[in-house]
């Protein structure tokens, strides 16, 4: 088995561009495929703490179902993709959602943070004991 021992992978032509063979012949950007942040979070506890996380500096309890998630290293813009899921509770299902860039509130998505918008099946904001997300996009 071959092994490479390095602390940093840097593209020769463009620093952030390292190409990886991911199919029989297909290649893709290593940087674009990597999640830039992820976390699992408990919204039922004080301050909505993380169970585990990557590139998350802080979480804050903004309102029921709403956690403000701040990155350690900010994204390059507010156009990144967030995906996530929730634990289904005993008495009701729940959904993971986020506030968007066109939301005219302080909860608008920015390069530095985003806000969740978790709800139950009745459309009511809901604190969820376990939800998780991943972020893909460009780091600043």
């Amino acid at each position: 088995m071959s092994e490479i021992k390095v602390d940093t992978l840097t593209g020769k032509t463009t620093a952030k561009t390292v190409t990886v063979t991911v199919g029989a012949t297909a290649t893709q950007s290593l940087e674009q495929g990597l999640a830039k942040s992820w976390a699992s979070i408990d919204q039922t506890s004080t301050d909505h703490p993380v169970y585990d996380s990557f590139n998350v500096s802080a979480t804050a309890d903004i309102a029921t179902g709403v956690t403000k998630i701040t990155f350690v290293n900010a994204m390059n813009n507010a156009l990144y993709g967030t995906t996530g899921g929730t634990q289904t509770e005993a008495t009701s299902a729940a959904y993971f959602g986020t506030y968007g860039v066109n939301t005219s509130t302080s909860r608008q998505m920015t390069a530095a943070h985003f806000h969740t918008s978790n709800r139950n099946t009745s459309g009511t904001d809901k604190d969820i004991i376990y939800f998780a997300f991943a972020v893909h996009g460009d780091i600043a």
């Binding site: 991911v22 199919g23 993709g81 967030t82 939301t103 139950n120 997300f133 991943a134």
Partner: protein
């Protein structure tokens, strides 16, 4: 021509080692952040997505630049539940997986009617062709 390394494992001096299979299998093969409330649906940003095409309000197709190897890949999504139609339940559902594209439906309410919405995000994991 850029250099090429062929290896089964990479190791950091302090953070541990990782089989490169995790890099290959653990990297998202596509992702998107779409504005599905625009007159013409548009991806704000994306990776390995060649186009977005609205079928009807809330129903749309994301096509890949490089096709997936099969239709068994994984899609996870998120959706802005507040904008425009705040106060309702809803979600973004992946409906049909093809190697060249996937179809999605943004929906709301107990009837699950499709609808335009501001934020539709997806992440695709699996094998490229």
């Amino acid at each position: 021509m850029a250099g090429k390394l062929i290896a089964d494992q990479i190791e950091h001096s302090t953070a541990g080692s990782l089989d490169t299979s995790y890099v290959v299998n653990g990297s998202a093969k596509a992702w998107f952040n779409a504005n599905c409330n625009a007159t013409t649906y548009v991806n704000r940003d994306s990776f390995n997505i060649s186009s977005i095409l609205e079928a009807s309000g809330g129903d749309f197709r994301e096509s890949y630049t490089s096709n997936m190897d099969n239709t068994n890949y994984s899609v996870t999504t998120s959706y802005d539940l507040h904008n425009i139609f705040g106060g309702s339940n809803g979600g973004l559902q992946a409906e049909e997986f093809l190697t060249a594209s996937a179809d999605y439906r943004a929906w709301y309410g107990t009837g699950g009617a499709s609808r335009d919405t501001d934020i539709c995000c997806g992440q695709i994991m699996g094998d490229l062709a």
